[in-house]
Subunit: 366 residues, 2 copies
């Protein structure tokens, strides 16, 4: 097993090496190419920032890597060299206020551990920067609300990193659902998990992660159910299972939950840190079915539908798609598709799942 617990998300990405240019793929009518690319500072240089987001920034036409925030001097040196960053654009977590003087930076992409998102988002906003925040947005509803309020007060835009909201295979499934191509959607089965490695990582510490597999990967399944239905859950029933009480002392290992939506659609979901192989969803409708498997990898997502055609739209880079869209929203002064309110409501539902687990009975949200 890989030492990097997230490396397996990449399974299919090798096939994308010869992918066509991004602009022709996104399918969205972006605004005019900007006079200058918006500068993005990456706040937190873990594996996601290193292996996905920084490379993605090289592929966008309206933004670029313009700065970094890190607490590790050796990383600062390495990144500065690799990406030719100016001295003034290298920050640590204590001097982010200095960004106010740096016109090269327009957006701060917060990729730190979940429980640090609020602090870093507010620091960026205080320096006059727009904020793009990884999901889960924060570890409590209250902290999400503080982030929303803080960015609003600062008059800056806030987006949450829901890459599947821009992934064309997901969007095709949303279309199939919305247009009832295979009849009324009835049931959604969605699962995501992986066998997590290093037992010392922050994802296994409650204070930093706010939860385990549910917060980290279960959120993808929750998003799928909301995207496919276009509705909000009104009822949640959940259970947790732990097979390794030492490794998962502080956070959930496996969570299973069921949700009901107002139209009668139901969803059955699993998130796990204990096993590989669950990374897809299936939508059962009155006249047929469709779904993706895998659905949640960084590349190579694909699917099937019961009436024949394969769902397999090549995506050169999901992070490039979400960043291009966020930059475009800023440039063209339009709302983002993934606002802080979306991140907040997801955290609300994740907390309801934990509440159901704790109470040992269903939780009504209606």
């Amino acid at each position: 097993m890989s030492q990097n617990p997230r490396r397996q998300f990449l399974t299919h990405s090798a096939a994308l090496a010869a992918a066509p240019l991004l602009a022709g793929i996104s399918g969205r009518a972006l605004g005019q190419a900007p006079a200058r690319k918006l500068g993005v500072a990456l706040c937190g240089l873990g594996s996601l920032a290193t292996n996905q987001i920084a490379p993605a920034l090289q592929k966008t036409r309206n933004c670029r890597l313009a700065g970094i925030v890190t607490g590790t001097p050796s990383k600062a040196e390495e990144w500065q060299k690799k990406y030719g960053l100016a001295d003034k654009s290298i920050y640590d977590y204590k001097n982010m206020h200095r960004m106010a003087d740096n016109k090269d930076i327009d957006i701060v992409y917060v990729v730190t551990p979940n429980a640090l998102h609020l602090e870093h988002a507010l620091a960026a906003a205080a320096a006059g920067k727009h904020v793009f925040c990884e999901k889960p947005m924060e570890i409590t509803v209250e902290r999400c609300q503080q982030m929303v309020d803080g960015l609003k007060k600062a008059g800056r835009m806030l987006g949450v990193g829901y890459r599947c909201q821009f992934e064309p295979n997901h969007l095709e499934c949303v279309r199939l659902a919305k247009e009832k191509v295979l009849g009324d959607v009835k049931i959604i089965d969605a699962n995501f998990g992986f066998a997590i490695g290093d037992p010392t990582q922050w994802r296994l510490k409650h204070d930093l992660a706010g939860g385990g597999s549910l917060m980290d990967v279960g959120i993808y399944c929750l998003q799928t159910t909301r995207m496919i239905t276009g509705e909000e859950p009104v009822w949640i029933n959940a259970a947790e299972v732990k097979t390794d009480a030492v490794k998962f002392k502080e956070v959930d290992e496996t969570v299973m939950w069921q949700t009901k939506f107002p139209s009668g659609v139901v969803a059955n979901c699993v998130s796990t840190y204990s096993a590989n192989g669950l990374a897809g969803f299936r939508v059962a409708a009155s006249r047929g079915w469709f779904g993706l498997d895998p659905a949640y990898f960084y590349g190579g997502n694909r699917g099937r539908r019961s009436d024949g055609p394969e769902i397999n739209i090549q995506v050169p880079d999901q992070f490039a798609l979400e960043l291009e869209d966020f930059a475009d929203a800023i440039i063209n002064k339009r709302p983002t598709k993934v606002p802080g309110e979306m991140g907040l409501s997801d955290v609300k539902y994740l907390m309801a799942i934990y509440e159901s687990i704790k109470k040992g009975r269903p939780v009504s949200l209606a």
Copy 2:
């Protein structure tokens, strides 16, 4: 949509038209070919008996269609003509005791509505016949026990129609689990359902069916979880969702349930009468995954495993496999792999699922 709610199980069977002879496929070392084929009387001539079991009997080497039990004279005439049955081998539900004098009949295969299984099984046993009973075995644990006791008292063999217990793709998955080929099994996701047609059919009447989708197709998922783990559930959490209160006035439309097994394996399952497209299972293990999709059709089941090879063993006829095995068990005086006790325990777990739904909380079985 097909008027025959079960026709969709056949989706892939056309591809099997040119399937090789059964004997070479079953992979089991059957006993010597018998001096005479055991005679099977089909009790209940619905679509399953008509379209699956009677044709299957033409393909077995150790049994044959030798009689019928039906309450419909026109069916009796049609079947007698089609299969060249003797006058003495045509029964209705009130004269099954006369089978005692018919040496052509060794086995009665009970394919009537669920709540009639006990009556017909006991009538067959009283006439000295072995009984093969469709699943679910009956509609309560008590009635299953009465069937087990009745057959034991009569000194006849009782088997339950769990075709997946003989389906080689399922058996390959059991092997992968047991031999830990992809590591320890952690999570099983299993679903089965279809959009049921005719609202007047017996499957939608509680007195005859004992329940809805759970009893009819959920039982396949339950069996999968027991087969893959080799264990018995110790905890069940379940919920029901109804979107059509008229059609599903008497029985469940959609059931979602979660089970825990002693080793820590968990399962997340759905059964439904409201939608097509859920008919598979996925097993997530510590080093990879495997599963079948579809898993539960009459033909064409196939699957994948994360380390590469496709799971796709051609099966000419699952009903022929189960019937050959049952006849072989009788001929060679060995136990069947699918005894009444297995059918009884499944009904016990199905009832625990209904109990959890009713109570709105998990049910412990430990």
